[in-house]
């Protein structure tokens, strides 16, 4: 499902990420561990095609990313990869339901009106469909961001530091939510974190940095 070989990402003269080899099969759940600045976010962005590697080859869901560019790459990302960014970044002018509807619409997929409602109900947010992001608690906003990431049933689900600033109970609930949603779509899950509490839950771990 995921295959990275000899990948190197440079910013100017400095290496942001050096990764000899990383393979993940369909449906596997992975943790990417490392101190801040070790390139965890860069790795996620490379997998999502938001950044291009300086060297090396990346194949996601059978698609070599070097073969995609421009609007085709954007379209592919919208349909194949779900992302929960660290700062969530819900669109503040839109309601929760509209934020979810944004995902299939921007990816050029048909709207499934039931999908958003089902996800919201599943995540205990049924009564928040018409709320704006600023009316949500952090936990609620995070669940909306997860729902948005899985709206299009992605093959790869990426989460960047999902447990920072959460207490132990919320941390466990969030990791369980991500795992459950990834299982529901049959997606490969990759969580970038420096949170020690996450280590016990996932066997497959990729360690970055020195």
């Amino acid at each position: 499902m995921l295959s990275l070989k000899g990948v190197r990402k440079r910013y100017g003269a400095a290496d942001a990420l050096v990764l000899e080899r990383f393979e993940a099969a369909a449906g596997e759940h992975w943790l990417v561990l490392g101190p801040s600045g070790s390139g965890k976010t860069t790795l996620l962005h490379l997998i999502a095609g938001l950044l291009a590697p300086s060297e090396g080859e990346i194949v996601v869901a059978g698609q070599p990313l070097a073969g995609l560019a421009g609007a085709a790459l954007d379209r592919w990302r919208g349909r194949t990869v779900g992302i929960v960014p660290q700062k969530l970044h819900l669109v503040p002018s839109l309601t929760v339901r509209q934020n979810l509807a944004l995902a299939p619409w921007l990816a050029g997929l048909p709207q499934e009106p039931d999908r958003a409602g089902q996800l919201l109900a599943e995540l205990g947010l049924a009564d928040k469909a018409s709320a704006r992001p600023h009316e949500l608690s952090h936990g609620e906003a995070q669940r909306v961001a997860v729902a948005r990431a899985v709206m299009n049933r992605p093959k790869v689900l990426l989460a960047d530091e999902p447990t920072s600033n959460l207490d132990d109970a919320a941390c466990a609930a969030t990791l369980e939510l991500l795992a459950a949603q990834a299982r529901a779509c049959g997606a490969t899950l990759v969580i970038a974190t420096h949170d020690r509490r996450a280590r016990e839950r996932f066997d497959r771990q990729l360690r970055l940095g020195r």
Binding site: L50, L51, D74, I83, P85, H89, S93, L94
Partner: protein
């Protein structure tokens, strides 16, 4: 979920700024629209009023005043000319038709014109009631006069000296006209005139009984027998110490040129307003771009192509412009209508807001162009949003 829906959601999120931009643009559009509607209507009306009149002959004075008083009936005449001179001129072989006008009195602000049936025929007048005058002291009302004063066939009316309106001024109480006919609206100067025989005017002014060589009229409207007459006729008339010739076409062109400066200044003002609105939209969108960096990055993350973000921003500018144009057109037409009813109360030719000119599409186009132009640079910058950076630093 549509692009326009998202643009609208963003506009709704900042209603005050959006309303301000719409209003600014609307004022510019309204200014240009009013000028367009008013100048076009006044121009076409004056052209119609002056149509078929090659030369006006009247007393010595300003040729502009002569045309304004004898053709458009919006100024007082400078004086009278001897009937004998007018008759001699009318008999000239270069003259195809000559219509005499005897002015001086008014009825409730509407001018009483002593003339012949030729004058009514010249403007293709049709009657809605009664007939034309057959003897002195019979009067025919223009459509606007009948409507505004509410009198009709069979009524008596008393003229007042000058254009005094209803005031206590010098009324010719002892002589009254009998209304024998009412004209249908013609969209010409006839609508706001009271027509009668030339002899009526003489009678009212106490010269009715005198022999013809002592009578006077105010002006003579002349149509040439051949265009060649234009070369010699005016000079011939002006050589007469008692007469003056003026060309309605030339004088109204001169008038348009004089008014034109003011119209140009106002038009420039309207265009400046529209450009200021464009600048304001540009500033609003540039600010919005700063606030929405993360939104735009997220949209790219979710699969939006760069072009979609460009369209999103441009659409916002165009939506603002479309709202401004629609509001501005509505304002412009309403204002023209209001000016028109004010002018009608002043006994001037009516101006209507219920008229669509094809030139207005140009105003709409210009407004949309302003919105588009203002959104172009923010749109291009939105296209260049650095997704990975914005997501990572957020």
């Amino acid at each position: 979920m549509t692009l326009a829906g998202i643009s609208l959601a963003y506009l709704r999120a900042r209603p005050l700024a959006a309303a301000l931009n719409v209003l600014l643009l609307a004022l510019g559009v309204a200014t240009v629209t009013v000028l367009l509607l008013a100048s076009r209507q006044i121009e076409s009306r004056m052209l119609r009023d002056a149509e078929g009149i090659d030369l006006v002959v009247g007393a010595k004075g300003s040729p502009m005043q002569l045309v304004l008083s004898a053709v458009f009936h919006i100024d007082v005449p400078a004086g009278n000319i001897p009937l004998a001179e007018a008759k001699a001129l009318a008999a000239h072989r270069a003259v195809k038709k000559a219509i005499p006008l005897a002015l001086g009195d008014s009825f409730r602000g509407y001018r009483i014109v002593g003339t012949t049936h030729d004058y009514a025929a010249h403007y293709g007048a049709r009657l809605t009631a009664g007939g034309l005058w057959e003897k002195p002291m019979q009067a025919v009302l223009g459509a606007q006069v009948a409507r505004a004063t509410g009198i009709g066939v069979g009524a008596k009316l008393v003229g007042a000296h000058g254009m005094a309106g209803e005031g206590p001024g010098a009324a010719h109480e002892e002589t009254s006209y009998e209304v024998v006919g009412v004209l249908a609206p013609s969209g010409t100067v006839l609508d706001r005139l009271v027509l009668t025989a030339v002899e009526s005017v003489w009678e009212v002014h106490g010269t009715g009984g005198e022999p013809e060589q002592y009578q006077e009229i105010t002006a003579l409207l002349i149509r040439y027998a051949s265009p060649l007459a234009a070369a010699t006729m005016p000079r011939q008339v002006n050589a007469n110490p008692m007469l003056q010739a003026a060309s309605p076409a030339y004088e109204s062109a001169r008038l348009f040129r004089m008014i034109g400066v003011g119209v140009e200044v106002l038009r420039a003002f309207g265009i400046v307003l529209m450009l200021a609105a464009g600048l304001s939209v540009f500033i609003a969108l540039t600010q919005a771009l700063e606030e929405r960096r993360y939104d735009l990055a997220v949209m790219r993350m979710l699969g939006a192509a760069r072009a979609k973000l460009f369209v999103l921003l441009v659409l916002e500018g165009v939506l603002l412009a479309a709202a401004g144009a629609a509001l501005g057109l509505a304002l412009g037409h309403a204002a023209t209508g209001a000016i028109g009813s004010f002018m009608a109360a002043q006994h001037q030719g009516p101006l209507t807001g219920l008229l669509w000119l094809n030139e207005e599409w140009w105003v709409v186009g210009a407004a949309l162009g302003v919105g588009l132009g203002a959104a172009l640079v923010p749109g291009l910058r939105a296209m260049r949003t650095e997704v990975a950076h914005a997501l990572a630093e957020g």
